[in-house]
Amino acid sequence: MSDKYKNMLEVKNLHANVDGKEILKGINLSIKAGEVHAIMGPNGSGKSTLASVLAGKEKFIVTEGSVTFDGKNLLEMSIEDRANEGVFLGFQYPVEIPGVSMANFLKSAISEQRKYKGLPPMKSSDFLKMMKKEGKVVELDRSLTRRSVNEGFSGGEKKKNEIFQMAMLKPKLAILDETDSGLDIDALRIVGNGVTQLKTPENAAIVITHYQRLLDYIVPDFIHVLYNGRIIHSGTKELALKLETEGYDWLIKDFENE
């Protein structure tokens, strides 16, 4: 079987707790290279938790299930190893790091990634060229890379900056956690188009969102509805429109009647 048909990410019966409370109650999800999956669902359904668990956030405890990424056991890896294997999390609330320039932050990240892969350090001139090129993808003001990480950035700039980092780090799997929340229509277009431009047959994305509007720009192959820690329904892109007009209640009712 060629790689094309193998799953890049295989989540099986994933359960996770935080502070003793079970949030994920048996998630199953398979993603192949080249696919975009959207995860939707009401507040508190576990969408962000799923993103955090995949990235390895330590306050979440996995109690059951498995996650395989490119054939490797993801759950055994440290946060940084997951990142260097190619898992990228676009944060809902990107963190400000005063006194550390965006350029230096990314330089460290790329150098760690290359070290992990056994590659020689990137030449400074290549790094600068790449920053210039990828900055254009999200129409990022060049001065932002000289400023401290996310410090004093507007909400829209922070989200664009997440996509910019994604463009620089070239992950195999990008998980975008409500990257659209709080964006105006221009920023939404830029972020959406940025993600679409970065799509290749080799990488995949999980887009977590509340709203259908981001999916006007990032067209998903599959949409999953998460409710109460489980995926209760999956469908194709048309599902988003139905959710937008009818909400989640019809799905929840069906699920609870079962």
């Binding site: 946060i79 940084e80 005063p98 990314l106 460290s108 990240a109």
Partner: protein, 384 residues
């Protein structure tokens, strides 16, 4: 004490001040933990009277007189060659202090540096003072004077090995003058010291003081600023990294006396191992000091269970039209920021170093000299 005075060569211009200094010290003695200001840094446990001594040989480096309005020389030489100016300024701030260490320093006043910038003059290059000496010395006395409209940058590097000592530096900033001082105490040496600077700012003047401490032993910095002229502004920043059993204490007292003055303080500490870091911050807004803006912030990071952080912010406000704020935090590194950096591929130790660097970097960002700033950041990072 009095017998010690007998041994001093009583032929200098400072002699007339000594007796008063003795009286202050004899009345107060080395402060114990019962003295509020020294609660967390009791000096009676650090020093003993037996150590009290002085030394005249502390001046190293070049001297020059009125080089385009800039004079740098020893206190002794200055008192002889510029007697009128010396008499106008010397001890004028120190004599008002009811402080044992200022008292003992005045009693044993031996020698130190003077920087005098005359009216409208500017230092082209920053003036560097390297305070290195090998003897116990409680009489290190310095004087910095900026006349009206003068502009100066001064770098003070502490480098004292195996000594107990006290320094008092009186700083006069004239009308519209602008002074930046960067003080470093980051050499790999051990000492027990009390470093006091007393500043007077006239109208429209500006003062920026940044201090970086990462040294063995005991270090108390007393930073006292008196804003006596309208529209004066000061920025006081400090950072300390403490390791092993080191003890560093930054103590500030800002007196807002005139109207429309601004003071901004930012002090940050990182305490490792079994070390202790202290911040004592006082703001006094006097009656009539309307339109005062006084801001004070102290943030601390504890890197070990055994390390100690003490912070004591105090505001006393006697005017009704003012903007004042103060805040103190003690904590560990931000978990979410660590997660963020690691999610981008940085190892845990790398992410920690990055965030600690960011924590102290913000304090040092006010330093105008980029090269100096980077070298201080680097030295401090090596301790982390």
């Amino acid at each position: 004490m009095s017998s010690l005075l007998d041994t001093i060569n009583q032929k200098t211009s400072f002699d007339k001040f000594r007796q008063k200094g003795v009286e202050v010290f004899e009345k107060l003695g080395f402060p114990s933990s019962k003295v509020e200001e020294y609660k967390y840094s009791p000096l009676n446990k650090i020093f003993s009277e037996a150590e009290l001594s002085y030394s005249e040989n502390i001046i190293e480096g070049d001297s020059y007189y009125d080089k385009e309005g800039v004079t740098k020389c020893s206190l002794k030489d200055f008192s002889e060659k510029n007697e009128i100016i010396f008499n106008k300024y010397f001890n004028k701030l120190a004599e008002k202090e009811n402080d044992a260490m200022v008292g003992i320093n005045t009693a044993l006043c031996s020698n130190g540096n003077v920087i005098f910038i005359s009216k409208g003059a500017t230092t082209k290059e920053p003036i560097t003072i390297d305070l290195s000496f090998q003897n116990n010395n409680f009489g290190v006395r310095e004087l910095i004077i900026l006349e009206k409209g003068a502009i100066a940058k001064i770098i003070i590097n502490h480098n004292q090995q195996d000594v107990s000592w006290a320094r008092v530096c009186e700083i006069f900033i004239g009308e519209g003058a602008n002074l930046e001082i960067v003080e470093t105490n980051i050499k790999d040496v051990s000492s027990r010291m009390v470093n006091t600077i007393i500043v007077e700012q006239k109208a429209n003047s500006f003062f920026k003081h940044t201090i970086a401490v990462a040294k063995k032993g005991f270090c108390r910095n007393n930073i006292k600023v008196n804003l006596i002229g309208d529209y004066a502004e000061c920025i006081l920043n400090g950072v300390a990294v403490t390791c092993d059993d080191w003890h560093t204490d930054n103590a500030t007292i800002i007196h807002h006396i005139a109207e429309n003055c601004i003071s901004r303080q930012l002090y940050r500490n990182i305490a490792k191992d079994e070390s202790t870091a202290v911040f004592n911050g006082n703001i006094f807004v006097e009656i009539g000091a309307q339109k005062t803006e006084a801001y004070q912030k102290n943030n601390n990071i504890l890197l070990s269970e055994e390390a100690n952080i003490y912070t004591k912010p105090q505001l006393i406000i006697n005017a009704d039209d003012v903007k004042c704020s103060h805040g103190a935090t003690v904590g560990q590194l931000d978990e979410e920021a660590l997660f963020y950096a690691r999610q981008r591929g940085l190892s845990l130790p790398m992410a920690q170093r990055l965030l600690l660097g960011s924590f102290i970097g913000e304090v040092l960002d006010v330093i105008s000299d980029e090269e100096l700033k980077e070298s201080i950041k680097e030295s401090l990072s090596e301790r982390l």
